[in-house]
């Protein structure tokens, strides 16, 4: 299990959900929980063949966040 923390004021929930949908095939489950300051994205059984999965996921969330602000 791997966990990625993303600050609520910098990443949008919609962007995280979009990334989770795009990356669904790379883990048994991707779940998102939130605290007052952060979203926690938990990857259950992440694909071992994708060593930088969390990094790529974070880039994707950044892309979705930027896209939503541009549109």
């Amino acid at each position: 299990m791997s966990v990625l923390q993303l600050h609520r004021s910098l990443y949008s929930a919609d962007a995280i959900q979009a990334a989770a949908a795009a990356y669904a095939e790379f883990a048994d489950a991707i779940t998102v929980t939130e605290s007052e300051v952060e979203y926690s994205v938990t990857f259950t059984a992440p694909d071992p063949d994708v060593p930088e999965l969390l990094d790529a996921f974070a880039n994707h969330v950044l892309f979705e966040t930027a896209a939503a602000r541009t549109a």
Binding site: S9, L10, E52, L62, A66
Partner: protein, 143 residues
């Protein structure tokens, strides 16, 4: 003498990190600059304090060559300044651009291109409705 912008960054074996003052560089500028590096870096944004954004750019190369990371830091700082300019030019010209694009794609709003109902109403008013030649003028040619 041009003003100078000063950026501080930390560097480790594979990444560089900036802490950026959101009062000076808006979130849109930060996103805009960071996004342009997604081909070369893994990017992480965090908030170490109120009104501050930490941007960490981690090279996709496991062992980046000497000098690469400092060059990357320079490029990012440069792009951040450019993004601020882009946003300010965009903001200050928004109404000009909206006018130009509306005029380009939707024609006039001042009645120069009336719709068919307006034309027919006008014809009625001028009692030309019984003039077959006028009625058959194709109103949309040349558009």
């Amino acid at each position: 003498m041009a003003e100078t912008a000063t950026f501080h960054y930390d560097v480790d074996a594979r990444s560089v990190g900036f802490v950026i003052d959101e009062e000076l560089y808006s979130l849109d500028a930060i996103y805009g600059a960071a996004y342009l590096f997604v081909d070369r870096c893994w990017l992480f944004l965090d908030r170490p304090a109120d009104k501050q954004v930490q941007v960490r750019l981690r090279s996709k190369e496991a062992e980046p060559a000497g000098g690469t990371l400092d060059a990357l830091a320079g490029e990012f700082a440069n792009e951040l300044l450019n993004q601020v300019l882009r946003l300010r030019i965009g903001d200050s010209t928004r109404s000009l651009r909206e006018y130009t694009l509306a005029r380009a794609f939707f024609g006039d709003d001042d009645g120069e291109r009336p719709n068919i109902d307006d034309l027919l109403a006008e014809l009625d008013a001028e009692e030309l409705a019984d003039d077959p030649l006028e009625i058959q003028v194709p109103w949309d040619t040349g558009s």
